[in-house]
Symmetry: C2
Amino acid sequence: MTQPATSKGEATRQHILEAALAAFRDRGFTNTTMRDIAKGAGMSLGAAYHYFDSKDAIVAAYYEWMQEEHERRYASAVEGGTVAARIKSILTTKLDLLRSDRKILVALFATLADPDHPLSLFGRGTSTVRDRSVDMFREAFDGSGLPEELESLAGYAAWMAHLGVMIYLIHDGSKAQKRTHLLADAVGDLFGFMVPVATVPPFSMFLDWAADLARQLGAPGS
Amino acid sequence: MTQPATSKGEATRQHILEAALAAFRDRGFTNTTMRDIAKGAGMSLGAAYHYFDSKDAIVAAYYEWMQEEHERRYASAVEGGTVAARIKSILTTKLDLLRSDRKILVALFATLADPDHPLSLFGRGTSTVRDRSVDMFREAFDGSGLPEELESLAGYAAWMAHLGVMIYLIHDGSKAQKRTHLLADAVGDLFGFMVPVATVPPFSMFLDWAADLARQLGAPGS
DNA sequence: GTCTATACCCGGATAGAC
DNA sequence: GTCTATCCGGGTATAGAC
């Protein structure tokens, strides 16, 4: 990725990004050409490629911006002290952030299963952003009394559940994405329920089993 | 999709499909061009397009063939009477079937999150194949004593878990996909465990909650 | 360093002659 | 049913203006 040195360049980059996102939201990712984006930003094709190496690089920049914005919004959201409230808040702020961006999400999830693609959500190219996202979920369990290893595992599990919520969001045709919000609340409740019963049989036996399995499996691609 | 009327046409179609799959397995989906496929099948580009409307249509044909072959193999596999054994058998026969085809799977999962794409695993274009696959899992619960509505739900849940297993398979670098087999066994055990405890508190409360949620959510896209 | 213009390659998809 | 020629868009390359 080209790194513009000047603040003017940075502004232009931002300008192109916004033109691209507007086009993606309007016509979808595949139906938007790089020539459209350049024209929308009022510049030549070559200039657009000067700032973004590829169309995917624009999505990558969006992904990074989205994660930063998500952290900002979550930080300023009134966050309850319970695990369930925190996870619901993480998911709800994200759903609000993505409300108009479902067509862009499609582009992000298109490479989910391609380990070699730089934009793959499980791949190396996205590890920085992914780690920050996983951390948000892991921190939701801070101070909950969950054993440390289980906390780390729960954070990763919640992050994966959050991927499922995003896929559901893309397909959700209900008004104001009501059903996805329902799902998000259920995910929060599920993880919130897990914490107090984590050490109580018979649930503890199930969690031990799951933790043991996760230990043997590792994260995808590892 | 073009439907060749003659048996000679059907043979040509099969011939192209095999050339395409060989190329996909060798070089991956994106690195294989339609010109490569046509050349591999010993014909011109236009001729190949006469049999398959698009590159994705080849993947769709593979998807259909794969489902049929999976049903054949599962039917002839020694299948234990327990739910766990059945689910493990469904997953294991599928993993065997896909052993060399992980690069093709990438193409199938690329449109997972795109509701409008004809190849989307949740979309309309794949509903026939999907329904048959979901049925395999639903039938694994037949005679288990699970209430009917829960059986249907469990079948769908198992099918979705199976999607997760396939994504894990794509990323699995372990020898002979050992780790994916571990995961598949765990999925079988999990659903097998569910059946006898489905009506026993506290598990029944959890399942009631999940069933109620699923009822409100519906399947993705519905 | 920022940007334009233009020509080009490659690969998916199409048109139309035969 | 098969071919050649062509279009279209992502992406590259280059020459040059400021």
